[in-house]
């Protein structure tokens, strides 16, 4: 089989279908709690505990060690994916912060009742933006996840609304069905491995997430981007969501005819969505070909059970290759295992630069944190003699059509790896398995685990169900909803903003403070918008530390109005604030001498400037306007109103 990938896919023909599960962190301040350090209005609260929903930069001060084991769900079965994770049983280290995490995140205390603002905001989004039907009772469920990302061993999640045939969004003229909205808790962040233990950080655990799930209505990769982008805009337009890196994650469910539903989990970058879904379509096509070939070679469960594992370190003692040599010197072992009937198939490309062997390598990483494997279709690149390879084949009892691989590490790692490869190959016997894949930086995806089934869901025992009352629904209906496209028109019409400014402002979290400033003061909206969106940004870019709260901005513009300031003082005023942010703008205006000039002062400055430049004026007339203007502004410490100055100058110069 050739290792070339198909180009120019005909998506119609292959039956390409994608559904998105769009996960977005909610900004949901729960004022039953408080945080001095991380104001809840700014960060929001967690879903089941009083902690602020803040992602920390500093080093954690709590470290604990735990282990998890899968249990049977309420139907008595242990979930397939949970069982699978349990095969990887190991210590898990959790890191947390005394000043923003509590015993609930450490799973040392039963959860609080649900953050009411989270359930409200999620319901508004579900009902008002996506036209979903709210359930009458929210039942918090536990979704068993024993990979360590949830301290309890499960993620709490609940359906808050479901779709009917009126639940859809319109994306470039196409109806995309939306069938589900869930409210759930975010998981802990995996920050790596430490001596074989997975390390997670609890700052992210418990942040409320809304999940919006679409029907598999996207039939081309570009539609996936359009839909995700639209859902993102709709969510941001509410001001109910957290912003910034890592606040959005998408699960992409991809299938093709003859393939299966496969989930690519947790894609963060919008501009990578197309690559991921395209590569998955290609992978499923290649898997179909691969399975056909295996079938023609007579591949069965018996072959899978006959994989041979053997310590072959001795065979490699004289190999010069740096990796192999240094590994053996460090006391690591070279473990070989056979891959019956896989000769020449291990090098088959499933995705760009991602071979069947890469898939096995990914499994080795997932199963045993092995660095990867070296397989028979690439081993010749390692400068190993034919004799060594032949000996290896003999040791592993490989026949002509068999492939093999080696793993550098321990026997246990090899056993874990092979046992998982066997589990996966058994699934391959029945077509393309439903599975969950992890996105890789290059746009391909690596094997993660089988797609979970129903046995992993059972009700949260620490909380009774929550009734959705008619009062609650009235509150939801009373929320004013403005779709982004309507808001854009309003911003341009009501505030006279340019299309550039209004497009920047329409989904900006500072829109609320903009509107508040404009309604509380008579300052020109264009000036307010420019300051908020551009001036501050450019000052930050120039290295000024400017952390302006909404209250700071409101004070800035009320003082601007009260003191009849001119636009040109805003820049020096903000610069001054960045140096002494403990002072109010009122104080800074006086301190920096930025109060506006009265007419008398202005005329005096102009007179002085005319005097100094008398010669030039008489010579050049109107053409010295710019020069004079500059001198006047400097002399007035930017306090002169440019418009007024220019008017006076024009009058005087024309006389």
């Amino acid at each position: 089989m050739k290792a070339e990938l198909p180009s120019n896919l005909n998506y119609d023909k292959i039956g390409f279908k994608v559904g998105i599960e769009f996960h977005q962190q909610l900004l949901a301040p729960d004022h039953r709690g408080y945080s001095d350090k991380f104001p809840l209005d700014e960060y929001g609260s967690k879903l089941f505990c009083p902690c602020p929903a803040v992602i920390r930069e500093s080093e954690p001060d709590i470290r604990i060690k735990r282990q998890l084991r899968a249990l049977s769900g309420e139907t008595g079965e242990i979930d397939i994916s949970a069982k699978f994770e349990q095969k990887k049983q190991q210590n898990i280290i959790y890191e947390a912060y005394s000043d923003s995490n509590c015993l609930i995140e450490l799973d040392e205390e039963p959860i609080n009742t649900v953050n009411p603002e989270a359930i409200f905001r999620a319901s508004v989004i579900a009902k008002r933006l996506f036209n979903l039907k709210l359930v009458d009772e929210v039942i918090i469920c536990r979704k068993t996840i024993v990979d360590g990302s949830n301290v309890s061993g499960f993620q709490r999640t609940s359906i808050i609304a479901v779709g009917d045939n009126n639940s859809f969004i319109d994306v470039k003229g196409k109806k995309i069905g939306v069938y589900l909205a869930c409210l759930e808790e975010d998981s802990a962040k995996n920050i790596g491995y430490e001596k074989g233990s997975r390390v997670f950080r609890l700052d992210r655990l418990g942040i409320p997430l809304i999940e919006i799930a679409t029907s598999p209505d996207m039939t081309t990769p570009s539609e996936v981007t359009d839909v995700a982008s639209r859902i993102g805009s709709l969510l941001r337009s509410t001001g109910y969501v957290k912003r910034g890196l890592g606040t959005i994650r998408q699960d992409l469910n991809v299938s093709i005819t003859g393939g299966s539903r496969v989930e690519i989990k947790g894609v963060q970058e919008l501009d990578m969505l197309e690559t991921f879904v395209t590569n998955e379509a290609i992978r499923q096509m290649r898997m179909i070909e691969l399975q056909k070939e295996l079938k023609s070679r007579g591949f069965t469960a018996e072959h899978i059970s006959k994989i041979i594992i053997k310590d072959v370190t001795a065979n490699f003692k004289s190999v010069k290759h740096k990796l192999i040599k240094s590994s053996i010197e460090k006391g690591k072992k070279i473990i070989g295992f056979s891959l019956p009937l896989f000769d020449k198939l291990i090098g088959l490309e499933l995705q760009p630069n991602y071979r069947v062997g890469t898939e096995f390598s990914e499994i080795a990483k997932v199963a045993a944190q092995a660095g990867g494997i070296i397989h028979s279709d690439e081993i010749s690149e390692y400068g190993i003699t034919t004799e060594t390879l032949n000996q290896l084949k003999t040791d592993l009892k490989c026949e002509d059509q068999d492939g093999y691989a080696i793993l550098i590490g321990t026997e246990i790692m090899a056993q874990k790896t092979v046992s998982m490869i066997q589990a996966v190959l058994n699934l391959w016997l029945n077509g393309i398995p439903n599975e969950v894949r992890a996105p890789r930086v290059d746009g391909t995806s690596g094997y993660l685990r089988p797609l979970p089934g129903g046995a992993r869901m059972y009700p949260e025992t620490d909380l009774p169900p929550i009734s959705i009352t008619s009062d609650f629904i009235e509150r939801i209906n009373a929320v004013e909803i403005e779709f982004p496209e309507d808001r854009l028109i309003r911003l341009q019409k009501d505030y006279n903003l340019s299309s550039n400014l209004s497009e920047k402002l329409v989904l900006d979290p500072r829109l609320a403070i903009f509107e508040k400033i404009v309604s509380n003061t008579k300052v020109n909206p264009v000036l307010v918008a420019t300051t908020i969106l551009e001036t501050i940004k450019s000052l930050k870019r120039d290295g000024f530390e400017l952390n302006l709260t909404d209250d700071n901005l409101l004070e800035l513009f009320s003082e601007y109005e009260t003191n009849s300031l001119v636009p040109s003082v805003l820049l020096p005023l903000l610069e001054s604030f960045s140096k002494s942010s403990d002072k109010s703008f009122k104080e800074l205006i006086i301190l920096e001498g930025l109060t506006s000039l009265d007419d008398e002062q202005l005329i005096q400055i102009i007179d002085e400037v005319f005097e100094t430049n008398a010669a030039e004026i008489s010579e050049k007339g109107m053409r010295v306007m710019g020069l004079l203007m500059g001198q006047i502004m400097t002399k007035s410490n930017n306090r002169a109103d440019g418009k007024k100055v220019s008017q006076i100058l024009k009058e005087r110069l024309s006389n």
Binding site: T75, E109, I139
Partner: protein
Amino acid sequence: MNDYTPPDGYRGALLERLVKEGLRTWSVVRATKGNAVFEGILLPRSAHTDDRILNLKTQDTYYNIGILIDDNVKLEEIGYREGHYKVPDVEAEYKKELPDVTLLGTGGTVASRLDYRTGAVLPAFTPQELFSAVPELMDMVNLSPKILYQILSENFTPEYWVQTAKAVAKEIEGGADGVIIGHGTDTMGISSAYLSFALKNLPVPVVFVGSQRSSDRPSSDGPYNIMNAASLAGYGDLAEVVVCMHGTTSDNYNLIHRGTRVRKMHSSRRDAFRTISDIPLGKIDLDQNITFFKNDVAPRQKGREDFILDAKYDDRVAMLYSHPGMHVDMLHGVLDKGYHGVIIIGTGLAHVGSNMYEPLERAQEMEIPVVMVVQPMFGYAQLRVYETGREMLARGAIEGGNMLPETAFAKLIWTLGHTKEIEEVKKMMQTPYAHEITQSEPNRGYSFFQGIEPGIDNFYERM
């Protein structure tokens, strides 16, 4: 449909409707509500919730949802899919080289399952199912699980302590190398205290164990506690009644506490169990290495002839908590109702307000023992220091030393089962039988860190 049973937990109009439609638990139901169609398995309903809501487990997403059913909702059965709760029983193979350990199950969260109707955790796991949940046990000891009761620990009574003690004795006489008692954590420390008195000259370890975080969560401390308890019961060179629970919030090691000195000091944490006024007896780590910290540990005995079951009791014992403004009729009431003994948890060194002198006098006249223990939990009852204490002693109050209140309660119940003679009761209550009163308190016996001590971050990290 002769074998029709209505679905559990539903009431009122909705129940009538479900019966009329012939819908059962595990029916796959289609509920049509306007445009929306909900399909799922009908689940039993929790009793204390809105009676108009139908619970379905959806068949595509597996979530549980609640739907309000009114006359406009169309209901139909489109299938039937019965759930099976049971974890397959695993039969353990007897291994001659391993010690024989009996696990007596009494209920509680080390062995609990989930109940649909209340949506809460209830004891339901059979001990056999433990092997399925914790297969490691099979390679550690020959464990014979037996169910004594399936009750929550708050429902224990002294009668249950006695039955438990008898059951332990039977296992010991039957040759067990150790006994584990699976117990709800709330009153574990009181049961362990009673058994400490009732099982004399023990030849083998008797280990209480439970789980603080429910066994229906993958993070439960139950599996590790039971493994450590099994190992301790099977191999520990120890012959005392002990509690074996997590030592820290991590799955790192379990502490071994004396049954009379242990107290649940947190409502939910894994490391809730602490030895009070002393250091713990020992610890057992994840590799099942046992380390003893005390040098007076009673060692395992080969012979069993000295072992005595002394499970007498008289449960007419009251316990009062002294507080500012306590009315005299609290104690009068106890005397009026014919109780045979009283534990008073006194303030500070074990004081009561002077208004209580009068009912104390009455108790003295009635020859009802009143035993004083301390509210601060740590330290000794000292009635000779202040005038109040002396006035109390003059009225017959008995100093309970540094007995924990619950231990004193269990001990008085045990003591009154032996004698009602006031001087004899006093003597027994002040004689240590199972380290319930210690000669002195080591400085490290009081380790209450406040979280601000220099180096404490590092200290907690190392824990």
